[in-house]
Symmetry: C2
Subunit: 331 residues, 2 copies
């Protein structure tokens, strides 16, 4: 049989397990021009929350009673498609299914020989591209500048901080546990890290960690953490908005200090993005990331959950910050 996870209900606020439903289907067979894929690794990402709403976001909403989708690494177990053969590994935006067919469109072959397959969902996939292109294209870091990263212990955050260090910035991370603070400083070479859960005055903590002010704020969280960082930005600061995980589960329009006055007095630029905005730069970015990875200039961490049935829980755990680095479900 073939397990499939459907969107059962649209979440109201924080998603819960009953928003998903696991069903059993027949294993499909590949027709001419198709491959049959066996799912190996499933990426769960905060941005999927937006697609669970019935609202136009940067991607169309998931349909009720249809399979959830995300970045997936799969193995070709049968091929009737000229470009793929049995045993190939592929990455693509695929359904949460143990087995599925594909006509090959948007599938990318990945090499499992000298790189961990799961890294194509992380450092050599959307995560790495998001970190690299958001930071370089919008953040435009210059040597000696101060970079603050929120959601610093997450998949994108850990990579952003390391790239910031490679490019000569002072890097300060904001994260949600002392364990992650330690990890950011040791494994990921952040200059400083702040545990926002145990810090009473985040604005002061950022000020103290960034005595020369904040030149770049790579924002993964939105909300009060971002307010605190914004209170410390320098003239001409750049603020890539990559995510707003603290706001995704809000059921009312979240209010906060109006940003126009601060952007105005600081001649600052805040820009939202999704990685597709920079698609023409993917090849060069992947080349750079691969080279840094080979030279051990950059590392990555994964939180691997095992078992197809645990995909929904792994997704929910993102909102509790239970992941360190990239959250991946191994099937």
């Amino acid at each position: 049989m073939n397990k499939v996870i459907l969107l059962n209900k649209r979440p109201h606020g924080k998603p819960v397990l009953s928003d998903f439903k696991i069903i059993n289907e027949e294993v499909p067979t590949a027709k001419d021009g198709e491959v049959l894929l066996k799912t190996l690794f499933v990426s769960v990402d905060p941005y999927l929350r937006g697609r669970m709403n019935d609202a136009k976001s940067y991607a169309p909403p998931f349909e009720l009673n249809k399979p959830m989708q995300s970045g997936i690494i799969a193995e070709v177990i049968e091929s009737k498609h000229g470009d793929f053969k049995k045993g190939d590994f592929v990455s693509g935006m695929l359904g949460w299914k143990e087995y599925q067919t594909s006509n090959g469109q948007y599938l990318q072959k990945v090499d499992g020989s000298d790189t961990k397959l799961s890294s194509y969902l992380g450092i050599l996939g959307m995560t790495g591209l998001t970190a690299y292109l958001g930071l370089t294209e919008i953040g435009m870091p210059k040597k000696g500048e101060t970079l603050v990263v929120s959601g610093a212990g997450g998949a994108v955050g850990t990579v952003v901080g390391q790239i910031g260090k490679i490019l000569g910035c002072k890097v300060v991370g904001i994260t949600g546990s002392d364990e992650k603070v330690a990890l950011l400083k040791s494994t990921f070479k952040f200059d400083q890290a702040i545990n926002y859960k145990t810090t009473t005055d985040i604005k002061e903590a950022v000020k103290s960690a960034c005595p020369e002010g904040v030149d770049i704020y790579f924002d993964n969280v939105g909300g009060e953490i971002s307010d605190a960082v914004l209170a410390n930005i320098n003239k001409y600061a750049r603020l890539p908005v990559c995510g707003a995980i603290s706001l995704y589960n809000e059921t009312k329009v979240p209010l906060g200090p109006r940003l126009q006055p601060i952007l105005l007095t600081k001649s600052a630029t805040m820009r939202g993005f999704i990685i597709g905005d920079f698609s023409e730069k993917f090849p060069a970015a992947l080349k750079q990331l691969t080279s840094w990875l080979k030279d051990d200039k950059i590392t990555f961490s994964e939180t691997i959950v095992e078992g197809f049935d645990h995909i929904p829980q792994a997704f929910l755990d993102l909102f509790e910050g239970k992941n360190q680095g990239k959250m991946i479900v191994k099937i």
Copy 2:
């Protein structure tokens, strides 16, 4: 005698006349290397409000019991400076004084022969540069796009709209009276204009005026008007933040809907600026503005108040929207 206007008190909220004090001084005399200037035209601008606070903004705060300053056109009535002669007209950031000396630094000679002198405070001065460079450098208008301008009836707004039209945009203005709505459509060729004071649902009004969504929002006001426009932006919208007049007199941090989620889902860019950010582009911009003005492709309006003593009231009137176009005091 020589009348001088001092900052008497820092305003709490909306400025009032007693925040200013008019005193009499001796008319100064020019020393070697100096000119003696007689003030002819004084620009009053919303941004001066920020400098009346004791807070670091984009310019240092005015000092208590010291003269206020703004853009001024003056006549050289005595010169002991090699670069200037009696009868020259100059523009510069000068004190609110009937007469003052200057060492010539930052003074710019202006030509009163075939252009109205006051235009160097407006269309050929900071106003025109702000409109042109904010719109072109940050707004990056493309033919066929929709441009919304708030504070549309003000000095900058009227110019932004006209440039938008020249560059092929559909232009919608938001302003505060039916008279200004009519003027924007007739004199300044806006496609549509909205009177926010008589419109109950501005968001819907913007939506109806911009059926294809908003690509560029040139923001002079901040606050709820901006919320309404932001609810209608398109993917990849550009949002130059030029001013936030609706927020300048707030005594508490003004709250509003958090912007990160909308910037994120729309891959939109919001950027604050002051005109000094683009100083290297002034000559080319002035050349373009002068050419459009000569070719009657652009026009400008001024609200001229007469009399030195009326400078403070003219400034206060800005916050009531009593100006059409550039507010100028003629001495």
